[in-house]
């Protein structure tokens, strides 16, 4: 009796287990087909208008990522200038001195950071330009998104070609591994692609946006950037054409030069293109701009790290009484118009005021000043480019109007300073315009490459070691040369 009961238990167990094993076996195909990460796979993306919008958002967002807005741009786009010094304390981040003294070697990390940062944004633009055309969506919006992507791609290639000369030109997504490792494209072709993208963007982009969309690039931005590109290429009549077009679009100088840079006056009437930043409550990861932080006043809560500080040469170079000097430079011991007292015994005598965010706006857990927009293009630039183009084209008289508009605004209520420029001597006027650009855009990352394009590198930077034939461009990052297995070559002299 006992035995037969055992036998029954045994048989039941075996049958049950074998049966369930078999049933498992029969459904194994679906059993192994799992979407493990539960992330939306790419095959489900770029299907809707909402996807296109998100991809455009991501592209803009990348502009305020670290490599695009903080140390790397300071190193590559500012530190070579005579207007700045490393700042901070003596031993901190001394590699900046190597940019300032032109002793930099290809191994420095900021070169690689700058390189990667720009290409990451270019990838986001290429994703849009490759994938959005196939989406069934509002056609007008689609065309605008594609134009915006072309603008951003042009902007990033402009920064790359200016910094490195020949760079790999990637305008499509790689099809397979054979396209992962591109060699350098001659810079003429890169410049041509930039112009092509800007020309195409200009025809599509709107002049303005509804309030909630402010910050997207406009026709005015495309024309202004194109003018700047043409200026670097010395295509002066193009500069004149594009700037003239922008001058008819309703932009005007913001009356208060100093206040133009405060967070309370973002996107004002002078603004043509700004990188939009904000302090998003509860979301420090999205509030990631460190533009203001890395340049902020040291040693105070809500300040910053104090890099990229104005040089004594800059402070000494302003025309007597130029109000822009005080609006550009925070001096040790001063009290800012917002009431912040700058410690009198700080590490640095001066800081950049254009990136300054009042200390009271600081919230723990966020980067200091993460709400500060970075102004990329503003109307004063259009005026001064127009002046420079007219002067170079021999229309020196026509240059005076826009030049003096800029001086007039800078003068503000101080009638006795910054008298209008009246000379029409081309060389004298050229010098005046160069100087005007220096002071108008001081600490705005314009000066270094301005001097080089003006052919004055040796004259202005030579004492610090700048050499013609070498220092027009920075070295290609060694990490990238290593990774390319020799597909990338180094710039001469490095």
């Amino acid at each position: 009796m006992k035995n037969s009961k055992n036998l029954f238990v045994r048989k039941a167990l075996v049958l049950g287990l074998i049966a369930s094993t078999i049933s498992f076996q029969s459904c194994k195909k679906s059993f192994l087909d799992v979407n493990p990460a539960q992330n939306t796979a790419a095959t489900q993306f770029f299907k809707t208008q909402d996807d296109a919008t998100k991809a455009v958002n991501a592209m803009y967002a990348n502009l305020h990522e670290w490599n695009n807005i903080a140390f790397a741009p300071i190193a590559v786009e500012s530190m070579g200038s005579d207007d700045v010094e490393k700042g901070s304390t003596a031993s901190d981040a001394t590699f900046f001195n190597d940019y300032h003294n032109f002793t930099i070697t290809a191994g420095d990390a900021q070169l690689g950071g700058f390189w990667k940062g720009q290409y990451q944004t270019i990838n986001f633009a290429n994703q849009i330009l490759t994938n959005v055309p196939g989406i069934s969506m509002d056609e007008a919006l689609k065309a605008r998104y594609l134009a915006e992507a072309k603008f951003i791609r042009a902007y990033e290639y402009f920064r790359l070609v200016r910094a490195f000369g020949d760079v790999p030109l990637r305008i499509t997504l790689p099809k397979d591994a054979s396209e992962y490792n591109l060699p350098r494209t001659p810079k003429d072709q890169v410049w041509a692609q930039i112009e092509k993208d800007l020309t195409e963007a200009t025809t599509v982009l709107p002049q303005s946006y509804a309030a909630a969309d402010i910050g997207h690039v406009t026709k005015g931005a495309a024309l202004t950037l194109h003018a700047k590109v043409a200026m670097y290429l010395k295509k002066w009549s193009d500069v004149a054409t594009y700037t003239t077009a922008v001058m008819g679009m309703g932009y005007s100088l913001y009356p208060d030069y100093e206040q133009m840079f405060r967070t309370t006056h973002k996107n004002n009437q002078e603004s043509i293109f700004e990188i939009q930043c904000a302090l998003i409550p509860n979301n420090p990861a999205a509030s990631n701009s460190q533009y203001s932080q890395v340049q902020g006043v040291r040693g105070v809560t809500g300040g910053g790290w104090g890099f990229n500080v104005p040089s004594p040469e800059l402070a000494a170079a302003y025309e007597t009484g130029d109000p822009r000097r005080d609006a550009t430079i925070i001096f040790r011991g001063e009290t800012t118009p917002e009431g912040d007292k700058i410690p009198a015994t700080g590490d640095n005598p001066m800081y950049n005021q254009k990136s300054y965010v009042p200390f009271a706006l600081y919230v723990s857990g966020f980067n200091e000043g993460c709400q500060q927009n970075k102004i990329v293009l503003r109307y004063a630039d259009v005026l001064l480019m127009n002046a420079e183009a007219n002067n170079e084209l021999g229309n020196s008289g026509a240059a005076l109007g826009p030049l003096n508009q800029v001086r007039t605004r800078a003068r503000g209520v101080n009638a006795g300073v910054l008298p209008n420029v009246v000379t029409t001597d081309q060389a004298a006027l050229r010098t005046a315009i160069y100087n005007e650009r220096r002071f108008e855009f001081a600490m705005e990352f314009e000066r270094y490459f301005d001097v080089i394009r003006q052919g004055r590198g040796t004259a202005v930077f030579g004492a610090r070691g700048w050499k013609a034939g070498k220092n027009e461009v920075w070295p290609i990052p060694q990490t990238e040369i290593d990774l390319s297995g020799g597909a990338l070559t180094q710039n001469p002299g490095y």
């Binding site: 194994k28 192994l32 799992v34 958002n57 990838n123 004594p312 723990s364």
Partner: protein, 1009 residues
């Protein structure tokens, strides 16, 4: 298990009740000896007094088996009392070895398997069982991680996997795990380490890095036996790196300032006007580190009847960390029951519970302690925290480590249940079916709270923040096997196994945080706070990672006259990671052996007690690859959030910022193993030697990609390399019972491994990596064909410049006095990237251990030594500088500080410019030799105990890592794979502030009632 290989038919003969007692050669009762009626499934086990009783046919033969002892068989012959003395296993070949899905006599094994008794590991003070294996097994490299509750790194026979998990598969009572930190070492009965592919191939899918089989303790028939084990101890840092003191630091910082003038070349004023005024200053290590206590208790009860057995245990561990406030508490519960239903059915389960809590310290603290300024007081005269900003040194070390600790509030909780339920049925004579279902259910929570505080200018918070991370794991595995045993004339022995297995692993994550909320020690954010609008989910709620596998496997073990052995297996695995064209992989193996001593011609010789030659070949797979590696996912990270509008409006973004390989196939490891093992002089001397050649084919390898791709992942994975690990393993043991009172054993093992990259998809182009621990991100390692994975790569230092170099016309233009002179390897007159050379390998060539034990009367002493040599370490701490971090005393004493002061050490500009480039100065020998564990025990005389009704009391004193010998200038040359950039295998061995090495001294007692 062997019990049930025999027919039950004989059980119906005329039975007599047999009683008896089993002792060992020292007269000690043996508990848990299996007593069975030969040729039947009838069996029992001895109780705490070594006693047994069994009903057996009068003409039957009783069989007594016990792990580590020679099996004996005694005919009943009508006796009702049989007392047996079991002798320690003299014929090692008769020992039972746990193998995948079964057991084998050691004689029948043709692969390379090492068994370790749980007790040998449990007696150490290591809370983690894997750590206790260090130095015990040739070819197994274990790298400890000092953080309480963290698991050490383990690799078997070299680094064969480059991407993902390099650990072996752990199989605990038939259930698969990546990590066994949940196991209390006291609950482990035995380890079986499967090293070669023929032993591991039966676990095809996960076997590429070896398999560690673990059996936990089970009950034995008899009255309840209660065991208590406990110890208390103290942990203390050994090999503390001495840092420069206040005066020295101030001097060095002033030198640093002098060496770094302003951008225009004018000098900066010194920071410290009077360095001597600081004296010794603050010793931050002394301030923050401490002697930390460790307490461990475990109590277990086991016993059973003919129908069932049980083993229950409860453990408690309380371990303080070396850093103030750091603490780890662990409660473990281990339950197992086995039931016999009639003669043919056996059911049982094992369940382990773990509950741990820890008060964490920030991982940055070790870096902070290394860099903290000794001129900074812990507290100022007014009671406030010393603030680096008051002293002008706040760069790179702008913190007060005491404030870091005081305002850091993170608690981790982990609850985990692992279980296994099995049923075993003898269907026919010699045919057995077993089904086992097991799983792992765990919930981990990390809760971090930032309070409102103001400690220093940079260490403060003007809002509160609560961050809660939840990770839930639900894994299960179901395995069914049929085992068939056949024996013909005792000449032919055959065991065949057929199996089927399915498993699923699911991990869910839920991370959320909220600002300006009060601290809450419990609950989810969404339930804790009515204002749910404040809660920000950092990852998609309920995000889960899931993988599944389905497998079939078969194995045949055959031996002829115990002389000629043949084992063969095959496994077919399907893994969801490879879903699509490459879902299934086939993993075969074969092994053969020849037991020379069982040949007739060896009968008359007296030297060899046993001698066996064996060889095996197998192919195994590795499914531990990133989940769905070929699926392009959409990036939705918070950093992709755009801002537009006046006023600002937040627009979430999404796009593609990565590239994935078009297809990935199984990574396969093909390995061959040849071994010889034997025993001499009645097995007093035993030896084992193995040669192995282990080739990883289609190795999944991450190759860094060009920045111009614009991807966020800086590398792309694919089947892009093959790697070879080749080496030898030796084990020699001497055991002797020198006299009635004295016995001893000495055992030495050595593993020699050479790692070599055979080919990479990039051809002769090297793969550079290892930049994460280097100040300027420069690559410090290179992986190239013909060399080991991830060898250090950089400039070779030939000296120190005594004078500033001119800006042109020299090999290193602009170099300053005190900078490194680099070798112009290619003799082109200029130092550039082409001059870099290989500087050493982070993969050790030699791993060795020496284990000794001595017993004299009631005293026992065991000393284990362990070491590693033929390895390099990259001391990245020295150059990981962003400002005024402190220097080591060694560096300060030897630094260049003016012409003629040093030709080997650079100036305080060590972290600057070209000095920070990876170079030979930072590469040091990682060799070490240590007394791994020393234990002295005393067992109280039995005569004394019998009065108290106690079977056994043993007291012991133990020291772990008491003596460490190494030349490395950091804290510990044991640089684990998870430190710094080590998560990626091509960036191993880079020391960026590891948990300091420490010794544990403890005293304990074990009592058996």
């Amino acid at each position: 298990m062997l019990l049930f290989l025999f027919s039950y038919d004989a059980a119906f003969a005329q039975n007599v009740a047999v009683k008896g007692k089993i002792i060992d050669n020292t007269g000690q009762a043996l508990i848990g000896v299996t007593v069975s009626v030969k040729g039947t499934t009838t069996g029992t086990q001895t109780d705490v007094n070594g006693a047994f009783s069994i009903n057996a046919p009068a003409n039957a033969t009783l069989r007594f088996t016990y792990l580590g002892y020679a099996t004996q068989e005694t005919p009943v012959n009508g006796q009702t009392s049989i007392n047996i003395t079991l002798l320690p296993q003299t014929n090692e070949l008769q020992q039972i070895v746990v193998i995948g899905y079964g057991t084998q006599r050691k004689l029948d094994v043709t692969g390379s398997i090492t068994s370790v008794k749980g007790a040998d590991v449990a007696k150490q003070a290591s809370p983690n069982a894997v750590s206790g294996l260090q130095g015990k097994v040739a070819g197994v490299q274990i790298t400890n991680n000092g953080t309480p509750g963290k698991s050490p790194d383990i690799t078997i026979r070299g680094l064969g996997t480059i991407y993902g998990n390099t650990k072996p598969l752990f199989v605990v009572d038939g259930v698969w795990y990546d990590d066994i930190s949940f196991l209390n070492p006291q609950d482990i009965e035995s380890f079986s380490i499967l090293k070669d592919a023929s032993s591991t191939a039966i676990y095809g899918i996960r076997a590429a890095n070896g398999v560690v089989l673990i059996s936990t303790k089970r009950g034995a028939k008899g009255a309840p036996v209660i065991n208590y084990n406990g110890y208390v101890g103290v942990q203390a840092v050994t090999n503390q790196v001495k840092m420069a003191n206040g005066t020295e630091y101030a001097t060095a910082v002033n030198e640093l300032v002098a060496l770094n003038p302003k951008s225009d070349g004018t000098p900066n004023p010194p920071i410290f006007s009077d360095p001597a005024s600081f004296g010794t200053g603050t010793d931050w290590y002394k301030q923050i580190l401490r002697k930390a206590f460790i307490t461990n208790h475990e109590i277990s009860v086991s016993g059973g009847t003919d129908k069932y057995t049980y083993n229950y245990s409860f453990g408690y561990l309380d371990q303080d960390g070396l850093v103030q406030t750091n603490n780890y508490k662990r409660y473990t519960l281990h339950l197992s029951n086995d039931f016999k239903l009639g003669k043919a059915v056996k059911l049982g389960y094992t369940a382990s519970g773990l509950s741990s809590t820890s008060r964490d310290v920030p991982t940055t603290i070790f870096g902070q302690l290394f860099g903290a300024a000794p001129t900074l007081p812990v507290r100022k005269a007014n009671g406030g925290y010393g603030d680096p900003n008051d002293y002008g040194t706040g760069d790179g070390n702008n913190y007060n480590p005491q404030a870091t600790i005081d305002f850091y509030n993170q608690r981790s909780k982990n609850k985990r249940v692992t279980y296994n339920v099995y049923g075993e049925v003898s269907i026919l004579k010699n045919l057995k079916f077993r089904s086992s279902f097991g799983g792992d259910v765990s919930q981990a929570e990390v809760r971090t709270f930032v309070p409102l505080y103001q400690a220093t200018v940079k260490q403060f918070s003007n809002k509160t923040n609560l961050n809660v991370d939840h990770t839930d794991v639900r894994n299960w595995i179901w395995e069914n096997t049929l085992t068939y045993d056949l024996k013909i004339n005792n000449d032919h022995k055959l065991t065949a196994l057929l199996g089927y297995s399915a498993l699923e692993n699911v991990t869910r994550q839920n991370d959320a945080q909220a600002d300006n909320v009060p601290f809450s020690s419990k609950g989810n954010l969404q339930t804790s706070f009515p204002d749910t609008a404040k809660v920000n989910y950092l990852a998609t709620p309920g995000r889960q990672i899931r993988s599944r596998a389905l497998s079939q496997f078969a194995r045949v073990n055959y031996s002829y006259k115990d002389k000629y052995l043949l084992n063969a297996s095959i496994r077919r695995d399907g893994a969801s990671q490879f879903y699509g064209a490459h879902t299934y992989g086939y993993f075969p193996s074969v092994g053969a052996g020849w037991v020379v001593t069982n040949e007739d011609f060896m009968k008359d010789q007296q030297v060899f007690s046993n001698l066996k030659l064996r060889g095996s070949w197998g192919k195994v797979g590795n499914s531990v690859v990133p989940i769905n590696p070929t699926v392009q996912v959409i990036a939705t990270d918070p950093y992709l959030t755009a801002i537009f509008g006046n006023p600002s409006v937040v627009y979430p973004g999404a796009s593609i910022n990565s590239i994935v390989p078009p297809s990935i196939v199984w990574e396969k490891t093909v390995s061959a193993d040849f071994g010889i093992e034997g025993g001499l002089f009645s097995n007093k001397l035993t030896f084992e030697a193995d040669y192995y050649n282990r080739e990883t084919q289609d190795a999944i390898f991450a190759i860094p990609v060009a920045g111009s791709l614009g991807t966020n992942n800086s590398s792309i994975i694919g089947n892009q390399a093959s790697i070879r690990n080749r080496g030898f393993e030796f084990l020699v043991s001497w055991k002797d019972q020198a006299s009635k009172d004295f016995s001893y054993s000495i055992s030495a093992n050595l593993g020699i491994n050479t790692n070599k990259v055979l080919n990479v998809i990039t051809g002769n182009n090297p793969i550079y990596d290892g930049g994460a621990g280097i100040a300027n991100g420069a690559f410090a390692t290179r992986t190239v064909v013909g060399q080991p994975i991830g060898q250090f790569y950089g400039y070779k230092v030939t000296g120190i410049f005594q004078q500033d170099q001119p800006s042109t016309g020299v090999k290193q233009p602009g170099a300053k006095g005190g900078d490194f002179i680099y070798q112009d390897t290619n003799n082109d007159g200029i130092i550039d990237s082409r001059d870099r050379v290989a500087l050493g390998s982070p993969l050790p060539k030699y791993n060795y251990g020496i284990n000794t034990s001595f017993t004299y009367k009631n005293f026992d002493l065991a000393i284990d030594f362990q070491g590693v040599t033929g390895v390099s370490v990259y001391n990245a701490n020295l150059a990981y500088r962003f400002g005024n971090e402190n220097f080591t005393q060694d560096f300060y004493d030897h630094r260049w500080h003016g012409a003629g002061t040093s030709t080997t050490y650079p100036s305080v500009n060590i972290g600057k410019n070209s000095n920070a480039a990876p170079n030979s100065f930072y590469v040091e020998s990682g060799a070490y030799f240590r007394v791994r564990n020393a234990q002295l025990g005393y067992t109280l005389p039995a005569s004394l105990l019998s009065k108290w009704k106690i079977s056994k009391i043993r007291v012991f004193a133990n020291a772990q890592n008491p003596i460490n010998i190494f030349g490395y200038k950091g804290f510990s040359p044991e640089i684990g794979g998870t430190v710094g950039d080590g998560g990626i295998v091509t960036g191993r061995g880079i020391d960026t502030s590891v948990y300091p090495l420490y010794a544990i001294y403890n005293f304990g007692v074990s009592v058996t009632f």
